[in-house]
């Protein structure tokens, strides 16, 4: 069995290679890009929208932006964060049209570690699955990317176009909200 760090590194290299092949204009590379990232992007968008049809529409827009934008991606190793950043912007554009979204009140880079609590990951994921839908959109988005799509803090920073410190503070707040939501469910 390969070491997780080695697997992460291989995955990062494979992403960068794919991005560079797309930037070169190899048609097969785009098929490979879609084959590799279609499902993770679908699962993220589907969870955030809650509808198959809407997720399909959004995914089409996402892939169009990816094809038109990948030539300008400067660092191919950041492909993952870049892809989810596009997905998130497309999603937020759509949701913004539908709702009057509350502004994201950024806590400045409070030096809070995102992984402060050693919560058991499996229990956390199960609780997350139940409680996620009760959270406000911004926190649901963040926790979906962090837990369900396994984006690192750096990748989240790329996806959200904010510094890593801001990601940490938002995660800290989102986890507190999640904790409160889970507690509320348990108290019922």
């Amino acid at each position: 069995m390969s070491h997780p760090d080695h697997a992460d590194e291989s995955s990062r290299i494979a992403d960068e290679l794919l991005a560079i092949r797309c930037q070169l204009g190899e048609p097969d590379a785009f098929d490979a890009l879609i084959a590799r990232w279609h499902r993770p992007l679908w699962l993220y968008v589907r969870r955030m929208t809650g509808h198959d049809q809407e997720a399909e529409d959004l995914l089409q827009e996402i892939w169009l932006r990816v094809i038109r934008g990948i030539a300008k991606l400067r660092d191919g190793s950041r492909l993952r964060g870049w892809l989810f950043g596009i997905a998130r912007r497309v999603l937020m554009d759509r949701l913004r049209r539908r709702y009057v979204a509350p502004p994201l009140d950024d806590l400045d880079a409070v030096d809070v570690a995102a992984d402060v609590d050693p919560i058991d990951r499996e229990a956390d994921l199960a609780a997350l699955d139940l409680a996620l839908d009760t959270l406000p959109l911004a926190e649901r988005d963040l926790l979906t990317l962090f837990y369900l799509r396994d984006l690192s803090l750096a990748e989240l920073a790329d996806a959200l176009s904010v510094p890593v410190g801001t990601v940490k503070s938002r995660l800290f707040r989102a986890r507190n909200l999640l904790r409160a939501a889970i507690q509320e469910r348990n108290d019922r």
């Binding site: 291989s10 560079i20 204009g25 048609p27 084959a35 279609h38 030539a71 699955d129 369900l148």
Partner: protein
């Protein structure tokens, strides 16, 4: 996560078709040619407009309008190539070569015309065609350099992956 819905199997194939349509070469070549032809015609019209003495007002307005129309076609085609039908590294190299060839022939035509006739607009047109040729050579060299860098990085990554797989 039981609540997650898997994507429909045919969806990825639909997006692959979408990608192939988006990546088709025809529209890119057409817009590169449009940009080049519109640039050349704009230079010719602007040279005539600016060098012909004592043009009637109506003719001046007509030349100005034709110059503006030519410039708008140039802007439009460049916008399409940078935002809609984005060119990738290999296509940029090919487009660069086409542009250098086109601008070279155009410059040659202008200088021949200027030397062989006494057309007033020929020398200014030649000067502008040289500027266009300089831009084309710059873009071509940049495209070659970017393409070479990407190829080198691709080969290095493939070697790294092949080494790790052993």
């Amino acid at each position: 996560m039981t609540s997650l819905h898997a994507p429909a199997p045919e969806l990825a194939a639909r997006f692959e078709r979408l990608a192939r349509t988006e990546l088709s070469r025809g529209a890119r070549i057409a817009h590169v040619l449009l940009a080049l032809v519109a640039s050349a015609l704009t230079i010719v019209v602007a040279s005539l407009w600016l060098t012909e003495p004592s043009l009637p007002l109506r003719t001046s307005i007509a030349f100005a309008l034709m110059t503006a129309i030519g410039l708008s076609w140039v802007v439009y085609s460049v916008w399409v190539l940078s935002a809609r039908r984005v060119m990738f590294a290999r296509q940029r190299v090919v487009a660069g070569r086409v542009a250098v060839t086109f601008c070279g022939v155009f410059s040659l035509g202008c200088v021949t015309l200027a030397a062989a006739t006494d057309a007033r607009g020929a020398w200014p047109a030649f000067a502008m065609s040289l500027a266009l040729l300089t831009i084309a050579i710059g873009l071509w060299r940049r495209a070659e350099s970017a393409h070479a860098s990407l190829l080198a990085r691709r080969d290095a990554l493939e070697r790294t992956l092949a080494g790790g797989a052993r």
